[in-house]
Every structure is written in C-alpha cells, then in structure tokens.
C-alpha cells in the first residue's frame, strides 16, 4: 500500500498539458478581471456600498477605497504572469492572495465559480506549472519536459469533484421530481430563437433536470476514460454553451471548457504548444529530458489535506437541522450550483427598549439592490445587517436597542412564508457557525441529498 503510493508519487509525465493549462487559465483570469473592471463592477460592488457583508471570521477583509483598484491590477498582472510562466510560483501566490482577498470583501457576490478559482489557484501553488514553455524556462535557459504525474492528476481530481458534487446536489426531489427551479427559469426564456417554444414544455423542464444531473455525475468519468473522452468533451462544450445562452453566468462556461482540456493526452497539448511556438516565433529551449520536482516536502501533505477538506466540506450540511435550501446552513463552498429559485423580503424593525418606540428601516438607505436581494434570502446576512443597523442607530444617539426582522421567503415555487422568527431580537444572537435557532421551519421536506 505504502509502496504503491510512493511509487505513484514518483511517476512522471509530460509537462505539456500542465503548461497549456497554465497559459489558458492565466489568460482566462486576465480576461475575467478586465471584463469585471470594464463593466464598472469594482466601483459598483466594492466602492459604492457603505456596508459590506463579510464572511464569518473574515470581517477584517474590507475594500480599501481607491486602493481596491490596485488589488485588481495586481490580480490581473499576476494572471498575466501565470499565463507567461513568469516567476510562476510568485505569480500564482499573488494571484491567489489578491483574488481571494477580493472574494472575501463582500459575500454578496459569492459565486461557486469564484470559489473554484480560489481553490484552483491554491492548488496551483504546489504544481510545477512554470516548468515548461514558460518565461521561467527561457530566463533560466532550462525547461523541464517532465513533471510529477500527480500534478496533472490533482487538477483532474479537483474538476472531477466539482462536477460530481454538483451532480450529487441535484439528487433531490425539487430538482428531479418537480423540475424546480428550471420550471420557473426556462419558460421565461420564451424569446430565444428556436428554443423559445420548447422552453414552455414541461417535458423539456424534466429532461433538462435529469440530463443535468446525469451529466454532472458522469462527466468526470467520460473524460477520464479514453474511448469516451471526445464524447465527454463535446458534451462539456454543448452543456456550457447552453448554460451560457440560458443564464447570465459570465466567464465561467469558458473557464470550464478550457479546463477540461487537461484530460487530453500530452500529444494534443504538444500540438497546441507547437502551434503557439510557430505563431509567436518562440524557440524551444530544451530537448533534453529533465524532471521538475517540488523541493518543498510538505507540499504533498498540504495538497492531500486540501483534497480531504474538499471531499468532506460539502457534507457539513448534515450537521445542521432543518432544510438546507431554506436555512442555507452549509450551502456555500459545496458546488451547489443553480439549485434554487429563492426570493425574499425583509423589513427590519428597530425598537428603543426604554421607550418602546419603534420604526422600520428602509433597506435602500443602507444596502445596494444587489445586497438587499442577497440579504433577504440568507439568514447569516440578516444577522450581520441587524447588528450593523444597531451600530448605526446607536451612533445616532438611540439607546438600548433591539432589532427584529419581519421576513418572508419563497423557495422553488412554493408560496412565500415567514422566514425568520419576528419575535427574536437579533442583537441577542451572535454570528457563529452554530445552527441558527431563529430560522422558522420550511414545513416541507425536500427529499434526497
């Protein structure tokens, strides 16, 4: 057992797939940041709001005024550095830190896609991405044709986890038996050319739901197994292009399509590199066979730990009582993608406990529409917001405050119902990872995972 593991860890493989992955990943990230900047989202999402929703334990991560642009610029430069393979490990480190900092600034913008980028860039810290066809190789006049096999396998594993867990999350009665939320989303795409009419058909909603679940569960295996690899890749392209057409999901479909290329043989990647070399007249540095190995021994340990966490984290929801989609305790960081249509409405009541006087808060005084929308369906947002309101009104001279919320939410087409206990003073509750007892029950069970 031990020897087979160490034998595996000592196996080497062609560096080309890793180099191509590094180049495409870097370029995709560079494009993503340019797009984000050009859309004016830095200002709109991070500079305009007066208040930011933070992750538990990371409330110290805040936007830094105009310096926030510098963080994005650093992140973009680092992405370029990754693409070029310039001081690879430093580039990845700067990218990982700046990107993660950006994501932690406000959880309003949380997307599984962004979390995926954070995970992937963390993993890349430990890989020999700069070994081959890179500026590093050019500078040092030494390229390495071979890298440890686990380098490439670990990227495949991460991708496999993302797909497979996304598939597992779809094995629930709302998705499979009620075709929710696709039954809500698809009919509104009535104006799509060719597909508009189909989108009204119930059988289409069910087919999309079932196909989506089977697709997510099987795609890692289709890509791993050589005879089905091409089919798998064609499915990847069709699936992601379709989701791009149907939903506003930005760059993610392209990132996933490009990432899936890692499953192809080295020969394919060598052709890409040859093509790049020819197009940009880059001379190959070496033809000798050299192996690039991580000299830092704990790297393997860290990567192993990373994957154990990846495999376990999505199951943490089992530790919480109540319906996952309703409470959203343990919902994030679990590859639960496009599973819910949830809308909410929350009115906060600020009570002066000495005089008994109270008033309701106009949320638009404090939050952007985007923040209000996210807040009104997620209990952890509401708690943080209630505490912010208390700080704000205490500073205005109000004393001895209590903050209550009257809130309603509707989940996957169910009629809206009371969400948070309106009789609980949210200032008496503290932020933590413990189950939130102030969430009222959904009174319906969603079967499955």
């Amino acid at each position: 057992m031990h020897s087979s593991i160490s034998k595996y860890l000592n196996q080497n493989t062609e560096a080309a797939p890793l180099a191509v992955f590094r180049i495409l990943f870097g370029l995709m990230m560079l494009l993503s940041i340019i797009r984000f900047w050009a859309n004016g989202w830095i200002k709109k999402l991070y500079l305009d709001p007066d208040f930011h929703f933070t992750y538990y334990g990371f409330s110290w991560v805040q936007p830094l005024g105009n310096f926030t642009y510098v963080i994005f610029a650093l992140c973009a430069l680092a992405a370029l550095g990754i693409a070029l393979g310039y001081r690879y490990r430093w580039s990845v480190l700067v990218f990982f830190l700046s990107f993660t900092y950006i994501e932690l600034m406000d959880k309003t913008t949380y997307l599984n896609h962004y979390y995926f980028i954070t995970c992937l860039s963390f993993l890349m810290l430990f890989l020999e991405g700069g070994a081959y066809f890179s500026l590093d190789a050019y500078r040092k006049k030494q390229a390495f044709n071979l890298v440890p096999k686990w380098n490439i396998d670990s990227i495949k594993l991460l991708l496999g986890i993302v797909y497979f867990y996304a598939g597992l999350a779809k094995l629930n009665s709302d998705w499979l038996l009620r075709a929710m939320p696709l039954k809500i989303w698809l009919p509104s795409k009535y104006d799509l050319p060719f597909l508009g009419n189909l989108m009204q058909q119930e059988w289409v909603h069910y087919s999309f739901s079932w196909f989506g679940a089977i697709y997510d569960l099987s795609i890692p295996f289709l890509l791993l197994y050589k005879p089905t690899r091409k089919l798998g890749f064609i499915l990847v392209v069709i699936f992601h292009v379709l989701t791009r057409v149907l939903f506003p999901i930005g760059m993610f479909p392209y990132i996933m399509i490009v990432s899936a290329l890692i499953f192809f043989d080295a020969g394919f990647h060598k052709k890409i590199i040859a093509l790049l070399g020819k197009t940009f007249r880059i001379k190959s540095v070496t033809s000798k066979t050299l192996i690039s190995k991580t000299s830092w021994r704990p790297a393997l340990f860290v990567v192993g730990l990373f994957f154990i966490i990846q495999l376990l984290l999505p199951w943490r929801y089992l530790l919480y009582p109540g319906e996952l989609f309703w409470t959203e305790e343990g919902y994030r960081f679990s590859w639960r993608v496009m599973l819910m249509e949830k809308a909410g409405y929350a009115q906060f009541k600020v009570v002066d406990q000495e005089t008994g006087k109270n008033f309701y808060v106009d949320n638009s005084d404090f939050l952007t529409p985007f923040q209000e929308k996210q807040m009104s369906t997620q209990p952890d947002f509401m708690l943080e917001y209630a505490q912010y309101l208390a700080t704000h009104f205490t500073a205005q001279g109000h004393k001895n405050l209590a903050v209550y919320v009257e809130s309603y939410a509707a989940l996957n087409g169910r009629l809206s119902r009371p969400f948070i206990d309106p009789n609980v003073n949210l200032l008496k509750e503290s932020r933590s990872l413990k189950p939130k007892t102030f969430i009222l029950p959904l009174d319906d069970t969603i079967q499955g995972l």
């Binding site: 896609h113 989303w185 009535y190 009419n197 249509e341 409405y345 985007f370 009629l415």
Partner: protein, 374 residues
C-alpha cells in the same frame, strides 16, 4: 438517520414516478400554447395606459384653464372652480402615476407632479424672487399637486384671506404667475408624455417582448411594484402612520392641506393598481391579457389557491380596511392610528405576494442587478 431516510424516500419516489409515467400519457396538456406577451403589452398600452393618460391630459388641461381663469379674475367663484379642477385632476393622476416608463421616466413625471410634503418655504421664496426653474431637481417639492394644495388651501384661514395673496398682496402678480407656471408645466409634461406614447413609444413598447431586464414586461413590472411598494403602501399610508419613524408624521399625508382627500386618493390608487393587475380596460368594460392572466398561464397554483386569486383577495382586504378609515388621514392618525396601521399591514401582505411570489413565478428580477450568477 433522518437524512438517510430522506435519500431512501427519494429513491422510492423516483421509482414510483417512472412506473406511473407510462400510464399517464402527457398529451393534451395545452402547454404548447405560448402566452402572448405582445397581446398583454398591447392591452396595457391601448386599453389602460394611453386611455388613462388621455383622461388625465384632459384633466390637466382643465386645471390649467381653471388656473388661467382664476389668474384673470381672482374671486371666490374662480377659486372654487380651480379647487374643484385640482381635486378632479388629482384623482385622475392616481391612474397614471404607476406608469413611470419612457418619457414619464425621462421627465421624472411622478416626482414633479406629486412629491409631498411640499416645501412651503421653497414655494414662498421662489414666488418672492420670481426666479425659479421648475425643471431643477431642487424644485420637485415646490410644484405639482402638493404645491397647489398649499397655494389653494393653506395661504389663509378663509377664502378671502387666500384671495388676498392673489389680489392685494405686494407679490400678488408673482403668486399668480407661479400658479400659472405650475399648472402649465403639469399640463405640458402630460401632453408631452401622451404624445410620445401615441407617436413612437407605443410601437417600441409593444414590440419589446424581450425577456431581458430591458424588455417591456420586465420594466413595467418593476415600475408597477415600485409604485405599489414605495408610493402607495409607504407614501400614502406607511410613512404618515409612523412605520418608518419614531413618531407618527401626519404632515406627510397626501393632500395634507385639503385634509379630507387622503382616503379617497388611496382608494382611487388602489383600484387603479388592481385594475392594472387584472388587465381591466380604463373607463370602459372588458379586460385583456394581464399579470393575472400571465400568472394563471404559468399555472402557479399553490396552497390550494391560485396566486392571482390570493393577490386579488389581498387587494380587496386592503380596500375593506381603507374604507373604514376617516376621510382625512390626519384625523385618523390623531384619533386612531392603529386602524391606519392595520390598513398598512393589509397593503404590506400584497407587497410580499407581488414582490416575492408574483415576480418569482414570472421569473422577473427585482431591481435588476447587472452581475454574474452561478
């Protein structure tokens, strides 16, 4: 353990469904029929919005004519006529204020005609200086119906005291000019909007059936709910009743100086919003495609009752509460604010049904946010 049970149940249910699906042939569901959104937009434009604007345009012109007559000969008769014209136009306005789209949005129609409480100091200083531009954002609370409310009802305790400002006062000429300017700008803005609807906007509105945030259905749904939530529910009832403040705020009642109009304005607005929901034609019988029809099409039947039925029921419940109120909300607040709060609660219930349930069923984003989703 509970979770394992839940997985097993799912497996059983899937098995059950795959067994029964053969027997229940899913033909004849009638779902191939597309809901015709363009027909809904046509109904909105041709049977509700444009006729409402035509009616209000006539009212605004009559108001301007009454103001002109008053300015020419300021006496008790012309003052009375002007007040009547103001009241009648104010009611008519309740039928168009929710359509904050196109030209109306561009000229900030709703803000310029009905921002209250009005700013008496701003009005007085504008009149005294004779130097003002009604198009300036800083002037929104010194014009429109609320400013006229002040100028026609608040300047003195008796009619003759009010008339003094337009006859013997040192600034009488300026008072008359201001009155003319206010009514003229209200009529002009309305005529501009109506002409735009009739000339070009109707065509682009009706044909823009896109499902995106810039599509007509999406935009008007947002405008409609914004109006209902902010201007009707909060503006007419919630804010004066003290929902958003430590104290009640009777001075924030609509038509504050006329006093006995606030309830009827609310009822008029409530009926207008409900009629729009049901696609009922303005000032004539018959109805066409609407939010109600759209919801029914989407088959959003839940809890044994359909959503459009729940929303209509809630409109009725709110109207019933409002009917029992005093004609003047100022009096209502001073005597029994709880009744006003109860009306607010009924209005609030429909905010939830429309903003959460209806928009979810229609898959329309509230305050569309231009950002990526998952």
């Amino acid at each position: 353990m509970k979770k394992i049970h839940s997985v097993l149940t799912l497996v059983a249910l899937v098995g059950f469904m795959s067994c029964t699906s053969d027997s229940s042939d899913d033909t004849g569901q009638g779902q191939t029929d597309q809901f015709d959104r363009e027909a809904m937009l046509v109904n909105w434009a041709d049977n509700i919005i444009i006729p409402s604007y035509e009616a209000f345009d006539a009212e605004a012109k009559a108001l301007k004519a009454a103001a002109d007559a008053f300015v020419a000969t300021p006496d008790a008769n012309t003052l009375n006529d002007l007040r009547t014209a103001w009241e009648s136009a104010y009611f008519s306005f309740q039928n168009v204020e929710m359509f904050d789209i196109g030209k109306a949005e561009e000229v900030r129609f709703s803000y310029r005609l009905n921002t209250y409480p009005t700013n008496a100091a701003e009005i007085t200083s504008s009149i005294e200086s004779g130097n003002y531009d009604l198009a300036l954002p800083s002037m929104v609370d010194a014009q429109g119906f609320p400013a006229l409310d002040y100028l026609l009802f608040e300047l003195g305790d008796s009619d003759s005291e009010v008339l003094d400002f337009y006859t013997t006062d040192a600034n009488a000429e300026n008072y008359k000019t201001y009155l003319s300017d206010l009514t003229a700008s209200m009529a002009d803005l309305t005529t501009t909007i109506l002409a735009d609807w009739k000339n070009s906007f109707r065509g682009s509105f009706v044909s823009n059936t896109s499902s995106s945030a810039s599509g007509s259905v999406d935009k008007l749904a947002n405008d409609y709910i914004f109006y209902y939530e902010k201007l009707l529910r909060a503006g007419k009832v919630g804010i004066p009743a003290g929902i958003f403040s430590n104290e009640v705020l009777p001075e924030k009642v609509e038509a504050y100086y006329k006093e006995d109009l606030s309830k009827d304005l609310l009822l008029e607005a409530l009926t207008a919003t409900q009629n729009f929901f049901n696609g009922k034609a303005f000032n004539k019988s018959g109805s066409g495609a609407s939010f109600k029809a759209y919801l029914d099409y989407l088959n959003t039947i839940k809890n044994g009752s359909d959503l459009s039925g729940l929303i209509n029921g809630q409109f009725d419940a709110a109207r019933e509460q409002a009917n029992a109120l005093n004609d003047s909300f100022v009096v209502q607040i001073e005597t029994n604010n709880d009744a006003l709060l109860e009306t607010y609660n009924e209005l609030q219930r429909n905010t939830i049904l429309m903003k959460i349930d209806m928009l979810q069923a229609l898959d329309i984003n509230v305050d569309y946010v231009d950002a990526d989703g998952d």
